[in-house]
Symmetry: C2
Subunit: 208 residues, 2 copies
DNA sequence: TGTACATCAGTGAACGCGCGTTCACTGATGTAC
DNA sequence: TGTACATCAGTGAACGCGCGTTCACTGATGTAC
């Protein structure tokens, strides 16, 4: 008994997704706190009142966008941290993954960077919550690493946050370089790699 | 021949400052891209049209706020980096300074964190420019440190950026903890100190 | 010092416009029998 | 399978409101003589 969604539900989801997509596009050039409900419905081609069938407000839509942008990222982050290979390879792989993600979902990345400290409280909180989850997951993976022998919980979490923050900084730099010449993107890659390397050197000698 | 400003100029500056102050207060709960010119003038108690005597637009006012928030920070940052003492003392002093700054100018700090990736391009660019200056200045101070013997320019700038980003992350954490119990503020202090310590360990062993 | 004119920060009315929200509605889809 | 009723995603008109910008203005301050 497979669950075919029903025509009505399927159409509703399609409209909802169209609203999310349109909002994300509009948010490339403004903040959520200035995004108008009418702008969004106009871009989709539905009546303004249709908006209310899906979201209470643009803030509510913003929270849904956080889920869309970050919800699916957990497995990727886990595997990136726990990937095999020596330190240099792991760093290169992680940065490559970030670069690809920014290429594939630039609007999502921009949205998160922008609204992390943005003017809409529920959205800020949703992002903080997801990032805290990331940090916990990174910590769990770090704990399994042989390099973490002798580390206490607080220090592992501290390091996990450092990695998560660094990931966002790097993503944000790639974003700024999206339409820049290849040369600049390579400079970002290099700087990000060196920063991660410095952190991993610090990690290796933490218990000295 | 001291330069007393003249009554007219003095009054004009006073109004301009009142507009900046009112805007900063309003921006605690929204982003610049949704800040209205009428909101600001209403808060000050002048006619909406008076706004144009001082700024072309709210974006223009935002750029002025960047200057106000970051322009005066350069000497503080220079001295913090180049301060004497062992590594632990320097870290504690730097974090103490950040905490005090956030206490003294919370609205400025929030504004910078919010608009660094915000929806108003000229403001974003003004912030990036100031942060790039900070990084250059930190690099210059780092270069004078005996620990930097053997470091090349790229690595020094990479480290400088790491410090600047870390400073913003820490400031932002203190901001979130502003009205939280003292306990949480101490946790922020501890995590920030450990992260800086890890970076300084990495720095010490960079050339191994 | 006094006078006549210039400057210009702030005013207040007016404008057209798009906003968020309400409401009763329509008609395709879903469901019960 | 066919019929009668229920559901509900999307509509369209209407509302009151605050927005940014224009314009000609006022009256205190500044300047030239």
């Amino acid at each position: 008994m497979s669950h075919t969604l029903g025509i009505r539900q399927a159409q509703k989801q399609k409209t909802r997704q169209a609203l999310l997509d349109a909002a994300l596009t509009l948010l490339e050039e403004q903040s959520l706190s200035s995004l108008g409900l009418r702008e969004v419905t106009r871009a989709v081609g539905v009546a303004p009142t249709a908006f209310y069938r899906h979201f209470r407000s643009t803030a509510d839509l913003g929270v849904a966008l956080v889920e869309e942008a970050l919800g699916s990222l957990h497995p990727m982050i886990r595997t990136t941290v726990s990937t095999a290979g020596d330190s240099g390879e792991r760093i290169a792989r992680a940065i490559e993954l970030i670069a690809r993600h920014v290429d594939a979902y630039p609007a999502h990345v921009r949205f998160i960077a922008r609204e992390r400290h943005g003017g809409v409280q529920p959205v800020r909180e949703a992002i903080q919550a997801q990032l805290a989850r990331f940090a916990e997951e990174v910590k769990t993976e770090l704990a399994k690493d042989p390099e973490s022998v002798g580390w206490n919980d607080d220090d592992l979490l501290m390091l996990a946050h450092l990695y998560v923050d660094q990931m966002l900084i790097t993503a944000s730099l790639f974003l700024e370089a999206l339409e820049a010449p290849q040369e600049q993107r390579e400079r970002v890659t290099q700087v990000a790699a060196r920063q991660l390397r410095l952190i991993s050197v610090g990690r290796r000698h933490w218990l000295d």
